[in-house]
Symmetry: C2
Subunit: 369 residues, 2 copies
């Protein structure tokens, strides 16, 4: 049985035998003609201004598995594969292999519940790489083990995905206590849970922290899933959630060579209304400049969020060893560390970032049919 064609007010209607109905505006059909895309680059080459806005086809018909249309401005027919046009009917979300549902986690995940994969498996590419990208995106966190004892080993894994995200701290960075630090990460102080570089217009996506040594007393790594905290805050304190997802606050980092400022809400929602991003960094939060009438309500919500991140109900602590690397979505999972005593041993991490765009791109390419 063939699909049924009707000319409707909004465009061509196609009713498939299974009951699915698509409405295809004529301008969309003309603009989407497969012949209008560059044969080598796949980019759209058709010029929309070359046709009138109210264009309608002279004829429409179905021939075997194709929809055929003729137009006054074209010598040849537009030919659409019927299955393709059904899958791409307007208003239909197209499938995306990188659109994975997050697995929110809380303190009861424990250190043992964090996904673990081997460096060798990931570097082998293919299914093992795709599986690691998938599980790390779902949890926002994973541990890679079996890294060689050199700084290149962690970077090589990051580059297996795509290019690194450079920042004002460099293309890669080292975390150890150093004299004249320009950042708390370079001290031996405790670092409460936070996300990095919230002062940037686009804070870096995935963070890679390769432990080259971790012998000092203290210095454990703490993590908290911002999606879990956000979801629970929404259920328990909708007013606080509303404020944190709509009010933007100023962030700033400055040293002798840089002064990078940005405004962000603590919680960002995606088009579905789900928590898609957390920007939380008390150290980089600039002097709050909200109107006096908003300030007290903001502080209440902000402090509540802060308390939740430190609650053992949400927090996990990991003791990572040399040769291990923790990888996490810096725009979702907050990280911190306990204070350590630099006189008891060396603690040396080597890190870098890869943005979400490269992560998702690699996952899509690996999962191509």
């Amino acid at each position: 049985m063939q699909p049924l064609l009707t000319r409707g007010a909004e465009g061509l209607e196609i009713r498939w035998p299974d009951g699915i109905v698509g409405t295809f505006p004529y301008i969309w059909l003309r603009d989407t003609d497969p012949a209008g895309f560059h044969p080598q680059t796949g980019e759209r080459a058709f010029d929309l201004t070359s046709i009138p806005l109210d264009i309608t086809p002279q004829s429409v018909k179905i021939d075997a598995d194709n929809l055929l249309l003729t137009w006054t401005d074209l010598d040849t027919q537009s030919r659409f594969d019927l299955d393709w046009i059904k899958a791409n009917r307007p208003g239909q979300t197209r499938p995306d292999p990188a659109d994975l549902t997050p697995t929110p986690w809380r303190g009861d995940l424990g250190a043992g519940g964090v996904p673990r994969r081997t460096a060798n498996g990931i570097m082998s590419g293919g299914r093992e790489l795709a599986d690691w990208l998938d599980v790390t995106k779902r949890y926002g966190l994973s541990i890679v083990e079996g890294l060689a004892d050199n700084k290149d080993a962690g970077i090589a894994i990051a580059r297996r995905i795509g290019h690194l995200r450079e920042t004002n701290f460099g293309l890669t960075f080292e975390v150890m206590s150093k004299p004249n630090p320009n950042n708390l990460a370079y001290t031996s102080d405790a670092l409460p849970l936070h996300t990095d570089l919230t002062n940037q217009e686009l804070p870096p996506g995935y963070q890679f922290l390769h432990f080259l040594s971790n012998e000092a007393e203290g210095g454990g790594s703490t993590f908290c899933d911002g999606v879990a905290v956000g979801n629970d805050l929404k259920a328990q304190d909708p007013e606080a959630f509303e404020i944190l997802s709509t009010v933007t606050i100023p962030f700033r980092f400055q040293d002798s060579d840089t002064d990078i400022r940005g405004r962000k809400s603590v919680i960002t929602l995606d088009a579905r209304g789900d928590v898609s991003e957390i920007c939380f960094n008390a150290h980089l939060a600039d002097i709050l400049d909200l109107a006096p009438g908003t300030m007290n309500a903001f502080y209440r919500a902000y402090r509540r969020f802060m308390e939740m991140t430190r609650d053992p109900a949400y927090r996990i602590a990991l003791r990572l060893s040399a040769g291990e690397m923790v990888v996490f979505d810096n725009r979702r999972v907050l990280h911190g560390r306990e204070a350590f005593d630099p006189s008891t041993g060396f603690r040396h991490l080597h890190g870098c970032y890869v943005d979400r765009g490269e992560w998702d791109s690699r996952l899509r390419v690996l999962r191509r049919a």
Copy 2:
């Protein structure tokens, strides 16, 4: 005459002799205590969870040029400089040397109206660098002349600002016709006005195109100020402006190694409601997936915008020579080129990007008092 202090419902009120009144929530005063910031890094070290939300000072008083407060949780007084606290009173926008008012321009700017500076002046740094950053940001466009005849010359100017923005096309890129192009830029076809990499979550900011040679017939460079088009569209066709600034459309680039997808509105507004960003790239626009009821209205608005960008009333054409570099805000100024005949001579550009964050940071550092 001293400022007058009053304890109000929202916090401490300070009335200055010049009539300015600030309301300072107590939690803000405690959180903003200058002693709560790390002495070396300048970051906030104070832990907000260490105090109750409804904290109030035991005493407040003015002593010469300072506001002094005592708290139950602190042995020492909080001391604020009165001028500082006046400038930073809640609800007050803090000055930002990088917050420059755009100078919208139209076709009548002409090639001769584009700001020009010399490579030597910019490389000397200081005032000349700051002046160039300023004027290029205001116009979204400038020409740098007197570059040495090698690829490093343009990159050196970009790096004078900050690190480069790497993309899937590399840290730098070359624009010339090449076999098996994965992008229309690498053909000799005309390129209608567009902004680059609209498929990225954060499209690159400033683009640098250094002309190493430009001898082929054709291949002129075209530019159009998206802020001017946006402003005029808002005045002339508010419905189209509304659609383009609220409806997001899918963008996508894919080749053998990448598949980068994102959704963007064509026009993005800042918190003031001003046009802050344009994402317009017909080649990277994926098959539109809007609901049928929105599609026709979107196409009308989208085609209108496209027509305006090509209208000589908005467009300028430049013929750049070897040794010149055009620098423009890729998120504001659309660029394109006329078709050229590769058999008539060589056309070779070398390019890179520096994001808006680095641009603004350099401007702030150079303009520090």
